[in-house]
Symmetry: none
Subunit: 223 residues, 4 copies
DNA sequence: GATGAATGAGATTTCATTCAT
DNA sequence: AATGAATGAAATCTCATTCAT
């Protein structure tokens, strides 16, 4: 099969997996159903993706890739704006991506859980085994830090143009924004419908508050 | 069997489950092993906890209960301190509890994922079925908002004693701190060893930054 | 507990067991349900009957006892009639008893299966073990041949009074009638409702034919 | 898998089940052991036979099928002999089949008990549920009456050739022979070893007597 | 490369039977 | 002697994953 055709089919499977995962969640999804949704057999499914985990990682990879693409586009679009504005944009974009596709946000969250569970425990070896063989695990690993780097990049630009303070480690600021975003997305997930207020709180407002905090933490003192 | 004794045994099982879950993770844990660890039979285990999921929920419940107890203790201890200080304490305590016991933090995180997956999707009913029958699911639901209420309580005290601004919804401020905490804990999980820096960032410093942001968001303007 | 009271309770349990067994059959009956029906606990049930098998044997014993009583009564009633007539009566009575209470007929049938399965097979010892400990097993064994003896008795009387041929072993004739009865009862069971014809055959007629055969086999040649 | 191969494997499993059932009896047989004997997994076993009951039904089906085949062969072989002789042959064959394989005879007996227990009782539906889903239950039902039909056929032939009386319903005569056979087989079961006399009665003689009765009942009066 | 069948591991259930109080 | 809890053995099911063709 030509590489192009193979890739096309792979994408088709990923779309099918996204559909099924979205409907019932990763744990409850059955490989059988995903295969059916993709119009292929389980064995064919396995020939493309060595395991269910790998399939999820493929989605994680897709999510990360999309996020990175958006980041690149943002950086390119924001060349005329301040580093601070661009940095804030980056956080906004992360949340937007997650909102647009909760599956992606969950894939990203699970990925974090995965790398932890494979890094610990008595049966570390056993757990890691299958994952390491996974093509996508490696591919995800290769790009997992790219989003951080892009944010750091914009923070550095902000340091240069004076919109961001220079006395705090850019990566620290990056992680601060990132964790706030993660927490916010987690809350969105829990609330189910992110358009509805939770405890009478408009979640839009909550996000705004987070970004105000971020701006406060980023901008030079006394600005 | 007296309720007290029954409860005692239930706790013993939960402890055994915690041990096994901690060692191999929830997915890899076998009911058989948990039973063995608790010194009982599989059947007895099932008579106490209807399913593996329910067992995890029991741990979630314990985690929540412990968190609530800590909150109550903190509120009681902090009666002489400002509402602001006490509120910040609450956030610190959440992170401490999660650090002390990653299993608890993961249980809490999973719970959030759970309520989302049971709140959506075409087969909502089917998914929820088993969970709803779970005793602990109901018990967790009953107390899941208590932590928020306690934080709101301290914020309200801060409003009275002038240490916290009055022009922002206390629940909004609560959720802001809560999501930051969640995000931070998630990052801790991902980093595996929270004592080690991530990307050369001292995670202690990251948390400090979050709390500074929180203080800024809480304290009255111009203080 | 006084022996009388104990015995009374035992009978109560047997009645409960009969009820449950009749409803769902021996295999599907649960000790739990029988206990409930008897208004006692499972453990109490076990204190009276060491096992489910034993309980069935108790019913078998009751069935046998009742059959024997009927036989005795018949013999007594028939003292003025010919041995042939009385013998035929015996067979009729067996079928009547089985019709009146199919549970009894099934208990008797199962008993035959039981003694076979305990008499053969690799795990003969294991199988027999529990049964041998059973009080009722011994009691049933003690009386299992009594019905045959009574039939033989009447046949012998028939030999004396000239109504039955003398050149055939009375026990052979007994078993011939007995097996025909067993087979007939089995068919009744299978037909479910013994009042309804099976394959358009009036089962009453079938029984009549069997008895005609029996008479032919019993009566002296040329009568 | 081709139907032929699938069927072949099914037969292999049935043979394994026969082996295990013969050794330890139906109740004591473990699905695990049957699977092992067949050289497959428990799950595969279940994919072929939905339940242990179904497996027994499969054996019942085989027994019936074998009996039917023997009947067909007999009918074919007996084309030159009288209908009476052939009819008697049919009864003899039933007993022979049962003697050759007690498992088959017990399967046939259990089947009768089964259709009764599934045809009665308050919880008829519940009991029947699993059984009705069973492929073999249906297949057995489809052929359960074939043996009777073949006997009737030979009786009818006997009526034509003058060897059998015409004033009695052929099906009545069939059932008479059939029930005698069933009863005899039951006694054989109970006696355990059919080569040994029971109560000093040679069971061979008993069967001979039954067949004499049958001949008397079948042959035209005055022959 | 695709397919139907099979495997293995573990979850869950059902009961007869036994223990501890 | 009675009770609630526990045991043990096996049935049954669910799925990710692998084999054989």
């Amino acid at each position: 099969m030509k590489a192009s055709k193979k890739n096309e089919k792979e994408q088709k499977i990923i779309v099918a997996a996204e559909t099924v995962f979205s409907q019932v969640g990763f744990t409850n999804a059955k490989m059988e159903d995903i295969a059916k949704e993709a119009g292929i057999t389980k064995v064919t499914l396995y020939s493309y993706f060595q395991s269910k985990d790998n399939l999820q990682l493929a989605i994680t990879h897709k999510a990360l890739t999309m996020l990175i693409a958006r980041y690149e586009q943002t950086i390119s679009n924001n060349s005329g704006r301040s580093g601070l504005d661009s940095t804030i944009d980056m956080f906004n974009i992360f949340v937007e991506v997650c909102k647009e596709n909760f599956l992606y946000s969950e894939a990203l969250m699970s990925y974090f859980a995965l790398i932890r569970s494979s890094a610990h425990g008595a049966n570390k070896e056993k757990l890691t085994e299958g994952i390491n063989e996974s093509t996508y695990f490696k591919r995800v690993q290769e790009i997992q830090n790219v989003p951080f780097k892009y944010i750091v990049k914009e923070i550095n630009r902000g340091r240069s143009d004076g919109s961001i303070k220079t006395d705090v480690d850019p990566m620290l600021l990056t992680l601060a924004g990132w964790t706030a975003s993660i927490g916010y997305v987690k809350l969105l997930s829990a609330s189910g419908d992110h358009m509805q207020p939770l405890f009478n709180v408009d979640l839009q407002l909550l996000w705004k508050l987070h970004m105000e905090n971020a701006i406060n933490a980023l901008k030079p003192v006394g600005t």
